[in-house]
Symmetry: D2
Subunit: 309 residues, 4 copies
């Protein structure tokens, strides 16, 4: 549980590379994790929502984790273990920690409604995976359809000492970060890492609100790293300048449903992935959309040369 | 706010009678309210969910209320004022109280999710209608899609002194009644009338759980009155015998969506309503369904002669 | 795919027996499946919603299926394979069929909204499990929150030749059965078994509407068998008499969430299960509720001696 | 029904100005509508979702419409008439048309799920308001929670000749526009105006996809007008340059729930509104958020001098 000191900076959410035939593209996986390490990621998350986790066999999930761990070395790797049943959640969580994962991430099932239901679900999850397994709360109502107030998050954190981080991706979410940090300052909430996500759409302001860093996907994680770094050293204008240059593409990539297709397409153009294929069922980027992304990349490249692909 | 002493017994939920051309059938309305009074109803609710309230013009709503008030005399009449906007809610609530209504009933809009949202909504409603207007919480998640825990109900009741009653129609709902009554016994919840509903589906057990009475519709409100009375005098078996005889029909009438068509059809057969018409858009009972209801009535009539129609 | 001729009569939905420590109670499982066979069940479904399937490890699921197959002999066994990912669904479906299961049952995930999404989901499921695996559509909006019109069901049946049955548990659902049967009479829908469920709440009328039988749980499956049999030989009044006697208890057992606790409690009292335990997380029947069920059993026993426990 | 030829360009969605005491700020309303006319708006929509329509009394709604009509002269004014009941919808629609409104806009209630339910709802709406009243479909699933496929939209348009426009604000929505335009090219869908919205978040690409213009709110409607104009004359890069400069602020304003507070705050800083007050219940912009908006305005002003406030 000492992990909490390390949960800062940028932890990209890794996609799972597939070949057009639907099998895992291990060569791209190796390249992808090496890439994340090289650009200076502080950690990594695999098997998240954008990792197509429910389409993987249990063995594939573990192999992907091992591949990530090999490349990330001493950098923490978080593993998504959200599952419809606690049996599957426990099984993956225990194996992941045994392999060397730093923490697991749990999103609430979309049937939860009341505050009590949400808090109870996390208590039961902890009972299932074991109180010795550090875990991350994923607060992403746009996708999970579960609305957690700041108060519910505080309750979960307080009731479960193994909670080490909040993946904050509510939308809007700025005031929630401010509220949680205020409670910590007042002493009514213990220390907790807050990493922001939701595709990075408000990263430019979230750092000043008190985020420890970013835990999201975007085809240019280098930008996330730069913005987090610039924010931390007080270079506000520079951080916004870079962020704003990427915003048109980032916004395009952040569309629900098709976002992963955009991300994989750009990462393929960047030479990181061999293919932008998704395992079935997946979305495909049409010709017009690809043209739109190409155009956005061209425009971005004028400011950020890394976008020249 | 002295109303609370009176909120006991059976308050039927009144349908709104229409002619086949969609206009209000005032002759049936007079007959209907006279019927409710004659059978010994302790009060009445108009403009509830089953009263087709959103299809009425403001003037029609008020005229229907006045008609009910004339017949019910000193018996309390509750008025449903749920509305998408507080302007409409306030306007109807103030006029209703002025006309002599005893209280208003407010159901939460189906967009509410967290405990805070629900409690805030009721606080805002009270601000809109005025803290001097007694109100009823309608807890009907099957229809509203809003899940209120016992804790949230306690919070609403505690924060709003003008709350005089809970219309309890959660499903399952027996334990919630028990919890609220336990809190009252312990002193952590103030006095509050609890009237049960959900079509009466669990009335046989709800009285023993602590309900003050029933506030629901059913084509034979006399049965509700008898079961409540028998329960109060400790005639448990007799109460169940009568309830069980009605259960096959009651269950048929309690189907979502088509229930009102069943109720109006039976009340038409009983000679209370001239027509089973609903104002558009409404559901219609097909020939097979009418035959099924006729058969259920025949069977019921063997035990309860009031079902001979 | 010749299964369709056999899908008639009563296929109980089996609960999964657990010991108080959370492990599977294999002795009770043997007794349970022997019981289903002895009372004359025409088939069986395991790993359905009420079978606590998501709490089982893959190996446990298969072992439970094998146990059921051993007892049911030549009677068809259907296996619930609903899963959040197609990998898990495929894996269980293929293994189940290999072991001797007659068909698999698929409920739609609660994220589906439009007609196209629903039809596409079933097409993708068939692609995942293989077009040679007979499957059952589970239409249970009260739980899945997915609303399938009769038209969507026809589309799924037409597009997927391996669809052999509809588990019809919409509520209200009588008109949907009538519509589907009318379409079959007109020739716009191919032959398809329709087995009704939703706890049996409308079994008394569903048979006359055209159901082939019942595919639901209830602590007295013998009643379902009797009602189906009596309905088929035209003994309408007798079928209703028996059904009505059970309705107070059946209604109590059909409550969302707590229903399984009621069912297991009664089956424990009947000596079929050694314990009414659910694997965590599960609901527990309080003392008052147990007393209510006991009272309902006493009353039922006056009419149906099988309820003397 | 000749309106369709005119539905092109930019129709801002007007907020309703309030004074801090909650009364309508008529002086600001006059200034606001004059502003929309002066900057070259091609039309206007009042009483939309962002117009706080459900908080207005019927008389206030009509007065606001009249005020807008006076200023817009021969420019079409669309009126939101979404309501929970057809009585209220009809009443407002008929009065609005009588006063000179060009069309009414109808959003589906959030209870609709299946394709049939959605199509039926629009048919019933047309029956309620009259087939002679031109209407606009509002397709905004992020807020309404109703998912309309392109096929359902085609069905509504085909079944209801009085449908004159689609307010397209699905997210993602680019492919839907392309599909509808393709169907029109193929002749399977009649002529229909498509105006895009969702805060303008994809306006830069929507015009090329086939949109006729924009029908949304944003504190700088001049930008929407410029981007639509530049797109129409083929100045793609220039359109994107201007759009991209506004995107950081536009994204900030497009946050669910707090968006209107941002919009009103900016319009107050621009001198268009006297106050950024919302009628209760409304959201308020905190001090940190106001600082963030101020900073975004400063940055924008470097590119677009209209943002100097």
């Amino acid at each position: 549980m000492t992990l909490i000191d390390k949960m800062t900076g940028v932890y990209p959410i890794a996609p799972t590379p597939f070949l057009p035939d639907g099998s895992i593209d291990w060569a791209s996986a190796e390249r992808l994790f090496a890439f994340y390490r090289e650009i200076g990621s502080d950690g990594l998350t695999v098997l998240g929502m954008m990792g197509e986790a429910p389409k993987l066999e249990p063995r594939e999930s573990l192999d992907l984790l091992k591949c990530a761990l090999r490349h990330m070395g001493d950098k923490p790797v978080i593993v998504g273990v959200s599952a419809p049943g606690f049996a599957a959640m426990r099984s993956l969580a225990r194996e992941a920690i045994e392999q060397g994962a730093a923490a697991v991430m749990i999103a609430p099932p979309n049937t939860l409604r009341t505050d009590d239901q949400i808090a109870t679900y996390y208590a039961q999850s902890v009972e299932a995976i074991g109180a010795d397994v550090p875990f991350v709360i994923q607060d992403y109502p746009l996708v999970t359809n579960v609305q957690m107030t700041a108060g519910v998050i505080r309750r979960i954190v307080t009731e479960n000492p193994s909670c080490v981080m909040l993946k904050a991706e509510d939308w809007p979410g700025l005031e929630k970060i401010t509220t949680l940090r205020k409670w910590q300052a007042e002493g009514s909430l213990r220390a907790l890492s807050i990493m922001v996500a939701n595709g990075g759409l408000f990263l430019d302001f979230e750092m000043a609100r008190g985020a420890d860093g970013s835990n999201t996907g975007y085809a240019f994680p280098e930008m996330l790293i730069d913005v987090v770094r610039l924010s931390k050293v007080g270079q506000r204008d520079k951080a916004h300048d870079l962020f704003d240059a990427h915003l048109p593409l980032l916004r395009y990539e952040q569309q629900p449903g098709v976002g992963l297709a955009v991300r994989k397409y750009v990462m393929m153009k960047r030479g990181i992935l061999a293919s932008d294929a998704q395992r079935k069922p997946g979305s495909v980027l049409g010709a017009i959309a690809r043209g739109e992304v190409d155009y956005l990349l061209e425009r971005l490249a004028k400011t950020d040369p890394r976008a020249k692909v």
